[in-house]
């Protein structure tokens, strides 16, 4: 039996804000969360641009022992999870059983690896490294910390698939619930923000060089785009088996009704002509939805010359020309990397609940392929019933989530 999968809570710690309401306002206003960090220039970065999550007082009280095993981005994820749990109205005790899981997308914990190596060179004895770094430096540090923090007894693992990590994490969580193997899963993604984790990416020349005007640097689909801006944060969703959520009287924000995945099977860094399109087709097929029912595409588009063009071609190939509104929230957030797929699901749930579509800021001049898309340049009132969220990553991995929303009225 295949079950429906409800979204009953969302949480976000983003460069746009640290609560759903702050982020909703920023998405409506078309606010940018990009800043210049001049220190990166003196280190030899080609671009000093980055997203920035300002320090904030956590609402979740973590002990010093808990913080020892948590890098900053895991603390952000804990905060996002707390928001999602609170919104869902579920008793946190209801997560302490084998029917509850945690699946997060993450593909590095770079800063902690650097820290442990530096500390050893200084101390000359591994005994001086302390107890926390071994946990902090693992890629799965996010699921192991969230699992123990929320006392999860079911699925508990991290999914690594480059910039599609958390798109796949949300999709896999939905599948496990749909197939009756879990009743609820906290899922999402998180991404660290520091120069240590981004220097080798900068080496590829992939980042925007519009350093004198940071808020205009990320310009997905625009003809003058010159690269992405690295960013980060944490996004969380509480997914529940629809009938279980309904029975406990939960407010259902939406559904993860479909999940498609594919791999290009071609190039490690250059996306293919058809890979993302195949993932979108699979998402539609698993949901039993038609292309004409899709009311909005939250694009992966990161502001790179090749990637955005390929996504535009994939969208046109499946939907035809200018049939469905499209925007990339990365125009405001920068590229949230491991976090991006789950972040798009959270942003889309926010938009659906408030009945608007966020703009693709800085889209001024279309190129050959983006001219064939209906790109949203200013927040647009709309109540889409079906939203597709695309993500794609190095190695040619693609994820597409199909979210379904009930009519508000």
């Amino acid at each position: 039996m295949k079950h429906r999968v409800a979204i009953t809570g969302i949480g976000i710690v983003s460069v746009l804000g640290i609560s759903v309401s702050e982020v909703a306002q920023a998405l409506w206003d078309g606010k940018s969360g990009i800043v210049a960090e001049p220190g990166r220039k003196s280190l030899g970065f080609a671009s000093c641009l980055t997203g920035s999550v300002p320090p904030f007082p956590p609402s979740l009280s973590l002990s010093k022992k808990q913080r020892k095993t948590m890098p900053d981005f895991v603390q952000w994820a804990a905060e996002a999870c707390r928001q999602a749990i609170k919104q869902s109205g579920i008793d946190p005790e209801a997560l302490r059983n084998g029917d509850s899981g945690v699946i997060f997308g993450c593909d590095s914990s770079c800063m902690s690896v650097v820290e442990q190596a530096q500390l050893l060179l200084e101390k000359k004895n591994t005994a001086g490294l302390g107890s926390g770094l071994v946990f902090r430096s693992m890629t799965s540090c996010i699921s192991m910390n969230l699992g123990t923090l929320f006392k999860i007894q079911g699925a508990c693992w991290t999914l690594s698939a480059a910039c599609a990590s958390s798109g796949h994490a949300v999709g896999q969580a939905a599948d496990l619930i749909a197939f009756g193997r879990q009743e609820r899963i906290l899922c999402g993604g998180a991404q660290e923000i520091n120069w240590q984790s981004m220097c080798s990416f900068d080496a590829l020349g992939a980042f925007s060089s519009r350093e004198n005007c940071p808020h205009t640097a990320s310009r997905p689909f625009d003809a003058e785009r010159d690269g992405l801006v690295p960013s980060g944060g944490a996004a969380a969703l509480l997914l529940e088996r629809y009938d279980v959520a309904e029975k406990r009287g939960a407010v259902i924000l939406g559904e993860v009704a479909g999940y498609g995945f594919s791999s290009d099977g071609e190039n490690i860094s250059v996306p293919s002509e058809h890979g993302l399109g195949r993932a979108m087709r699979m998402a539609l097929a698993t949901a039993g939805a038609r292309t004409e029912e899709v009311g909005y595409i939250c694009a992966h588009a990161t502001s790179t010359p090749v990637g955005d063009s390929v996504e535009a071609r994939n969208i046109v190939g499946l939907f035809g020309e200018r049939t469905v509104p499209v925007s990339s929230t990365k125009s405001m957030t920068g590229h949230e990397l491991w976090m991006s797929g789950a972040a798009q699901a959270v942003y889309s749930t926010i938009m659906a609940g408030r009945e608007f579509l966020a703009p693709n800021i800085n889209f001024e001049t279309p190129d050959e392929w983006s001219a064939k898309l209906d790109i949203i340049t200013k927040a647009r009132p709309a109540a889409p019933r079906i939203i597709l969220c695309n993500s794609a990553g190095f190695g040619g991995t693609n994820a597409s989530l199909l979210l379904r929303f009930a009519r508000q009225r």
Binding site: N125, A127, G130, S131, G132
Partner: protein
Amino acid sequence: MTDQKVIERANAALAQEFELDLGSMLPDALFREDLGLDSLDTVDMVVVLEQEFGIKIGKDPAIASIRTVGDMHAYILGKKREISPSPE
């Protein structure tokens, strides 16, 4: 530095690291059973004591036999000659 001063500094440093009530750090208090510390905390105890007193402990096998707060005091007093003066 008096033995009492060494004990006070050791207690204060460990209480801060492990978020313990200073009043609970009685000489016969068991780290594991009474104060709730685990094997990971033992790793950090070494780091904290090294930092607090400017001494080298490293992987000293004697650490494994520390069970009570009093054991810890005896261990650190045994290294008293290595202890650097108080930073105060």
